[in-house]
């Protein structure tokens, strides 16, 4: 209990203050401040992991039961893990971004970072929603101010979609409040059964829409290709690695912990939806010619698997989903980071316009192939555990989920194809002068790989860290 959860709010806020001050004093680069405050947060997390976290509760508005309360629930730890480490490692390894020298960018990045963590530990629905919205807003600005291409339009599209999701989330929260008289999660867990069934269906559908948009899963994923493509790479990393997990988190929290019976009833249709989504995303990804959009679709593909795991309501599958979310977070972040490193050197995301890069960049190639295998679910690496548990769990609910293995097959094809087109083959004549990645980048990628291997070999670390639902 040595670490109070409020530290997750305070340290990043201090970082933001330091960024603002630094803008006037110019004593160090913005990135250093960001990294230092994120590192402190990470240390805080690690210490807290060992010694336990203390809750925090301040009531702000009595009539609305709005209190700023931070508690760890049975789910939080894996999610804090990913949201603490992934953005940190991403910002360490991405050091050729054009947004790098902008204070505003770092402020928004810190804001998004902080609020994503707070969402996972919020004990009050309003503060959850508050920080949920802050992540959306920060990402909107990161895309719209620092993105490239049709960034303004993509940002708007992203905002429109996620905002709809946020509104349905808010609707669900309000319904919960009306029927339980409280926004507090703990009260909610105790009184969820008192909500009339028709209302809980409505709440569930609202939450489902939110999760579908946020994760995103097939019919509501339309913002994804644009937003992921236009965002600056660190933004894309954050979107895919952290933001999409918010959807999974909320779906588990509400769908499974609060209204398991409803989810159970909808399980089969949702599983069918999930299977369609997975197959669709796999094929959509295989048709991409741009590395970044391929990775985006592939990210959506894995979130589809996560969705399957969650809606199957089987304990092992949900466990698998959590593990897959954590692992996918690290893997996709590193893949995006590597595509950025590649882009900064060869100047194109087009898979078919480069080739033979391995000759000049063996280290990057090593990491890329490693992460491709990790994402394809090679055992010993983290994705495998998640996929395995998801399939084991959901198979007993609905045998046809195994159809989504076809998606993995297609994924194998397009991932290897991109590896082959980019890294193998004869070196493109224009690429004779490129150099391999720097030590810092290697360090970042090694950290990613470390987590991927760690979770892959000892999944019990994650499984043990959250209670059986």
């Amino acid at each position: 209990m040595i670490i109070n959860l409020i530290g997750f709010l305070i340290i990043p806020l201090i970082g933001i203050m330091a960024l603002i001050l630094n803008n006037y004093t110019k004593s160090t680069s913005q990135k250093n401040i960001t990294i230092i405050s994120m590192c402190s947060t990470a240390v805080l997390f690690l210490v807290g992991l060992v010694y336990g976290f203390g809750g925090f509760d301040v009531s702000l508005v009595q009539s609305l039961d709005f209190s700023f309360s931070l508690v760890t629930n049975s789910l939080s730890t894996p999610f804090i893990l990913l949201s603490v480490f992934v953005p940190l490692i991403a910002i360490i390894s991405l050091n050729r971004e054009k947004s790098e020298s902008s204070t505003i960018f770092h402020i928004f990045y810190m804001l998004a970072y902080m609020s994503a963590i707070i969402v996972f530990i919020s004990g009050n629905l309003i503060s959850l929603f508050l920080f949920w919205e802050v992540t959306v807003l920060s990402m909107f600005f990161i895309i719209s101010l620092f993105g490239d291409g049709a960034n303004k339009r993509s940002a708007m599209k992203f905002l429109i979609f996620t905002q709809f999701g946020s509104l349905t989330l808010l609707g669900a929260f309000i319904l919960v409040f009306i029927y339980t008289g409280s926004f507090s999660l703990t009260t909610l867990f105790a009184t969820a059964s008192s909500i009339p069934s028709i209302v809980s269906y409505t709440i569930f559908i609202f939450i489902l829409v939110t999760a579908l948009i946020k994760m995103p899963v097939f019919p509501l994923h339309e913002w994804l290709p644009d937003a992921y493509l236009s965002a600056p790479m660190s933004g894309t990393v954050f979107l895919s690695a952290v933001m999409s997990k918010l959807g999974g988190y909320i779906l588990i929290l509400f769908g499974l912990e609060l209204f398991p019976s409803i989810l159970h009833r909808f399980s089969i249709p949702l599983l069918i939806l999930g299977i369609i989504a997975v197959i669709y995303m796999a094929f959509a990804a295989s048709g991409q010619k741009n590395l970044k959009s391929m990775l985006s679709y592939s990210s959506a593909f894995y979130m589809g698997l996560v969705f399957i795991g969650i809606v199957s309501t089987s304990v092992s599958a949900v466990t698998g989903s959590v593990i897959l979310m954590v692992s996918h977070s690290f893997i996709i972040a590193s893949l995006f980071a590597m595509s950025s490193m590649l882009f900064s050197r060869i100047g194109t995301h087009d898979i078919y316009k480069s080739g033979g890069v391995m000759k000049r960049m063996p280290v990057l190639t090593f990491f890329f192939v490693f992460m491709v295998f990790a994402t394809l679910g090679v055992p010993g690496l983290s994705n495998f555990v998640g996929e395995l548990l998801i399939f084991i769990g959901s198979y007993s609910v609905f045998p046809f989920v195994l159809v989504s293995l076809v998606g993995l097959l297609v994924a194998t094809n397009y991932y290897l194809n991109s590896v082959r087109k980019i890294f193998y083959g004869t070196l493109h004549s224009s690429l004779k002068k490129i150099s391999d990645i720097s030590l810092v980048e290697i360090f970042g990628l090694s950290l990613f790989s470390f987590f991927v291997i760690l979770i892959g070999l000892y999944p019990s670390l994650i499984i043990g860290s959250f209670g059986v639902i």
Binding site: V61, S63, L64, V134, Q163, F164
Partner: protein, 448 residues
């Protein structure tokens, strides 16, 4: 019995006398007049806090009057000090009196307990605001005044005719004894009254004057119109329909319909505007729709939500129009100019951004809590479909709120600080006022 209204009216009298005797007393400098007005407002505000409102026949408040009059006075202090700091008032002699009268009118509307006394208060507010709109005698203000006045007198006539029908129907105008819903002239009268008040509250289709007038007026006056004046209209509607006239399900449906149409229409039109102020004007109109939803539900929750929502959007509206005033004088009119805003005033930009966020309902601004309460009261009454419809409409609003936000491009490098314009002391004062409003945008949450 000391109370804020007495202070205010005594102050108005004092101001009139001082104004009249200016020549004789050799008070040449405007400074003293403005200071006097501000002192009157502040004194009235403080009295309001400590002693409350007056309670006499025809003018005795409802449970929320204390709160509403409090924030009306607060806003008027802020707006007036802004006008003063802005220096726009220097050409006008009677601005102080007009402003005090308008504020007094608005407060009386909130307090009135009789239809006709309410009409008189509205008249007082209206006539003073005509003057306010035209207090700088330029062409655009003339246009604003003409439009406002022409449409307003028509609505006033309708309101008065409606009141007369109500009287004819029920034989009384006191809110405590209005009934007799089945008498056709009475019902028609109520409809006319609604029309008259909806005009003030800028509900569709009686809103059409608002974008033009809001845009053409001085921004500080727009801030007044869109916050204080509109509050008065909405509160009048609340007073009538919550405390006087027995309502039925039908009226509720009608009102919700009006509210949805208002929100939709204004948001729909706001999306394609290319002038910043017009966007703000339309968004201000849409806020009235939201507040009207809480009213249209006719539940205790709805009332509370509505009052709080009025408070929240009044503050946000005042904030954005005042903050926009800082940019308007530098010629930032169109959306495409918005990226210059950063170089004019950072605080002003923050004001516009936070105000927009509040209007868009982003947490943790006060606007979010307003919307939260509105949504809650909607769901509490079981109108899930209305909520879903609102979600879609709100998506539309994201277009212009966030389009404008990203147009401001405030992230475009703080490093351009060198190019920042030098700021006059006047600008500093105005920025401080904006800052106060920004703070209240967050501090207001405590009233939720």
């Amino acid at each position: 019995m000391i109370n804020s209204e007495y202070i205010l009216f005594a102050g108005i009298g004092l101001a009139i006398i001082v104004d009249l005797l200016r020549k004789e007393l050799h008070i040449e400098k405007q400074f003293y007049l403005h200071a006097l007005t501000l002192i009157i407002l502040v004194a009235s505000f403080l009295t309001e806090i400590f002693y409350g409102n007056m309670s006499i026949p025809f003018y005795s408040g409802a449970q929320y009057s204390y709160f509403i009059n409090g924030f009306l006075l607060f806003l008027s202090v802020v707006i007036y000090s802004f006008i003063w700091a802005d220096g726009g008032a220097e050409g006008s002699t009677y601005l102080d009196i007009l402003f005090l009268l308008a504020v007094g009118g608005a407060m009386l509307v909130v307090l009135s307990s009789n239809l006709l006394s309410m009409a008189v208060a509205i008249e007082m507010l209206s006539i003073a605001s005509y003057g306010l709109v035209y207090f700088q005698k330029s062409d655009r203000h003339l246009e604003a005044a003409v439009k406002y006045l022409t449409t307003s007198v028509v609505s006033m006539a309708i309101l008065l005719f409606g009141i007369s029908l109500v009287f004819a129907g029920s034989g009384t105008l006191s809110f405590t004894s209005l009934y007799n819903i089945n008498f056709i002239p009475f019902v028609a009268g109520v409809v006319f009254v609604v029309v008259g008040l909806a005009f003030k509250s800028t509900l569709v289709p009686f809103h059409m004057w608002a974008p033009d007038v809001y845009e053409a007026s001085d921004s500080a006056i727009t801030a007044f119109l869109s916050s204080i004046s509109k509050t008065a209209g909405l509160v009048a509607l609340i007073r009538i329909f919550f405390f006087a006239i027995p309502v039925s399900h039908m009226i509720s449906t009608l009102f919700l319909g009006i509210a949805l149409v208002t929100i939709f229409f204004s948001i729909f039109l706001a999306t394609v505007q290319d002038r910043i102020k017009r966007i703000l004007a339309y968004s201000s109109i849409s806020q009235a729709g939201f507040a009207f939803i809480g009213l249209g539900l006719f539940t205790a929750n709805g009332l509370f939500a509505s009052v709080f929502y009025i408070f929240s959007f009044a503050i946000a509206d005042a904030l954005i129009f005042l903050a926009y005033r800082l940019f308007e004088e530098r010629g930032i009119i169109y959306r495409k100019d918005a990226k210059k805003m950063r170089s004019v005033s950072a605080i002003g930009l923050a004001g516009v951004i936070l105000g927009l966020l509040s209007l868009a309902g982003f947490p943790p601004t006060i606007g979010f809590f307003g919307k939260l309460l509105i949504f809650e009261s909607i769901l509490g009454s079981g109108y899930v479909y209305i909520l879903i419809a609102l979600f879609f409409i709100l998506l539309f609003s994201t277009f212009y709120y966030f389009g404008l936000l990203s147009d401001t491009g405030f992230g475009q490098e703080m490093e351009t600080r060198k190019k920042l314009l030098t700021k006059s002391p006047r600008m500093r004062v105005k920025e401080i006022i904006v800052l106060i409003l920004i703070l209240s945008l967050f501090a207001g949450i405590v009233f939720a």
